[in-house]
């Protein structure tokens, strides 16, 4: 019997099964943590109120209560809606999140798949969610949904450019597209010959990091970039006609994607699973790596949610102006300057 198990875990399927389970944890755990810590607790603190306190100690079971509530809601398809496309939209959105988490490394050997084109793959699949959102907005056959879907499409494609161009600075410095090698490049990097803390690219690519954070905020449609779901204008944008568990799936998708984007940001700019002072080849990182990543994810998302709770919503034309007239020229300059410095030094 044990021989059967051993051969299973030595074959392709054992590690792959473990990785799939790990992927589920890596998507759902940060999503839940972000909703509880930031959306429930920090948001209440920022707005001078207590927030949920009844369900469990300090309201920690509120998340379960919310999920349970969504499961009991009736599943309503609008009479005029394009039923097939309407039903498929949440599948596309969640699938894009799962494809995105795929390339994130959590330790020297703890990765899901070690693609040579890692970051390129991530940027490519991150735009799949646009299709899901457009499907949801169009198929609902509702005016609010249509406007929300179109706004979302305009915003997501516009802000994908600064996102991609900001990554380019990191790729130039690391000289690779592989996520694992980007972490190692930061661990073994030196700043003008001094490698005491390696070279987390936030130090040399701080312009890129700032652009990446702003573009990420817009890609996640978090305020101040939340016009696609602006509740005072469009009810709930492309999600208006979704009810119950289908709405919950969009909600999970939003926060899971926030977590995964924060993972990618911490791999690119904060050194990923590595912390200064320990040899990056050490087996220790296979165990503490995920925890280190989780800490860095909480830091990056703290920045995102802090902005979310602090700033009022942009106007639609201000959003496009910020992207095309400010972020894209700056990020192109950032590429050129990084390239010159790389060749000169």
């Amino acid at each position: 019997m044990s021989g059967w198990i051993d051969t299973f875990f030595d074959s392709y399927w054992g590690p792959t099964g473990l990785r799939t389970l790990g992927g589920l944890v890596a998507v759902l755990l940060p999503a839940g943590a972000l909703v509880y810590i930031y959306l429930f607790k920090l948001m209440s603190f920022v707005q001078s109120r207590i927030g949920p306190m009844e369900a469990g100690p300090q309201g920690s079971l509120q998340l379960l209560a919310e999920v349970g509530k969504a499961f009991q809601k009736e599943d309503i398809f609008p009479r005029k809606a394009d039923k097939i496309v309407f039903a498929l939209a949440p599948f596309v959105v969640l699938m894009s999140t799962f494809l995105l988490v795929l390339v994130v490394p959590f330790g020297p050997d703890a990765w899901f798949v070690n693609l040579d084109t890692g970051i390129y793959f991530a940027l490519a699949v991150s735009s799949v969610s646009v299709i899901g959102i457009l499907m949801a907005g169009w198929a609902s056959a509702s005016k609010y949904s249509l406007l929300g879907g179109l706004r979302a499409a305009g915003q997501l494609i516009a802000y994908e450019l600064p996102l991609v161009l900001a990554v380019m600075g990191v790729v130039i410095q690391a000289g690779t597209l592989n996520m694992q090698d980007i972490v190692l490049a930061q661990a073994e990097g030196e700043i003008f010959g001094w490698g005491g803390i390696g070279n987390p690219f936030i130090l040399t690519q701080f312009v890129g990091f700032a652009i990446f954070l702003i573009a990420m905020q817009a890609e996640l449609t978090q305020p101040p970039f939340d016009m696609p779901v602006a509740e005072s204008e469009l009810v709930s944008g492309y999600m208006t006609e979704y009810s119950g568990v289908r709405f919950l799936l969009f909600f999970i998708g939003e926060f899971a994607t926030a977590g995964v984007f924060a993972m990618i940001a911490s791999v690119l700019f904060l050194g990923g699973w590595w912390v200064p002072g320990i040899d990056p080849d050490s087996n220790l990182f296979n165990i503490v790596g995920p925890a280190v990543m989780f800490g860095k994810v909480l830091f990056v998302t703290l920045l995102i949610f802090w902005f979310r709770f602090t700033y009022p919503r942009f106007r639609e034309d201000q959003l496009q102006r910020l992207c095309w007239k400010f972020l894209i020229p700056i990020s192109l300059l950032n590429i050129v300057v990084t390239g010159v410095l790389k060749v000169v030094f």
Partner: protein, 121 residues
């Protein structure tokens, strides 16, 4: 199967897991949720009043120019990625080449800007 294809099999598996998760959520909800449709429930939501006109409304897509520009810059990004990862080997030659390329693209952006394409139309 080669190592390369195997790693992309994981990609397919993860996409499948995403689809499966949605399916599992929807099937669990099927046990708990009621199903009592009324004509009013199935109407579209328009802030509580009776919806006006046909549900399939038309809207002005104001971003089609942005979409064109996006395609342009995204193709550019595809070209810059291989250059960026091999810059050390290419050295000064690669740098000058890419500076010219980026300059031409910036020129395109400036042209669209001057034409007023980046304004709210």
């Amino acid at each position: 199967m080669s190592e390369f294809l195997r790693s992309y099999l994981v990609v397919a598996i993860f996409g499948g897991v995403g689809v499966l998760l949605v399916g599992v959520f929807l099937s669990i909800a099927r046990i708990f949720r009621p199903n009592r449709p009324t004509p009013q429930k199935l109407e579209n939501y328009e802030s509580g009043v009776d919806p006006s006109g046909d549900m399939w409304s038309q809207s002005n897509i104001r971003y089609y120019v942005f979409a064109l520009l996006f395609v342009l810059f995204d193709v550019e990004a595809v070209f810059i990625f291989p250059w960026a990862s091999r810059l050390e080997a290419l050295g000064l030659f690669g740098l000058v080449e890419m500076a010219i390329f980026v300059f031409i693209l910036l020129l395109g952006l400036v042209y669209a800007w001057r034409k007023g394409m980046l304004k709210w139309v």
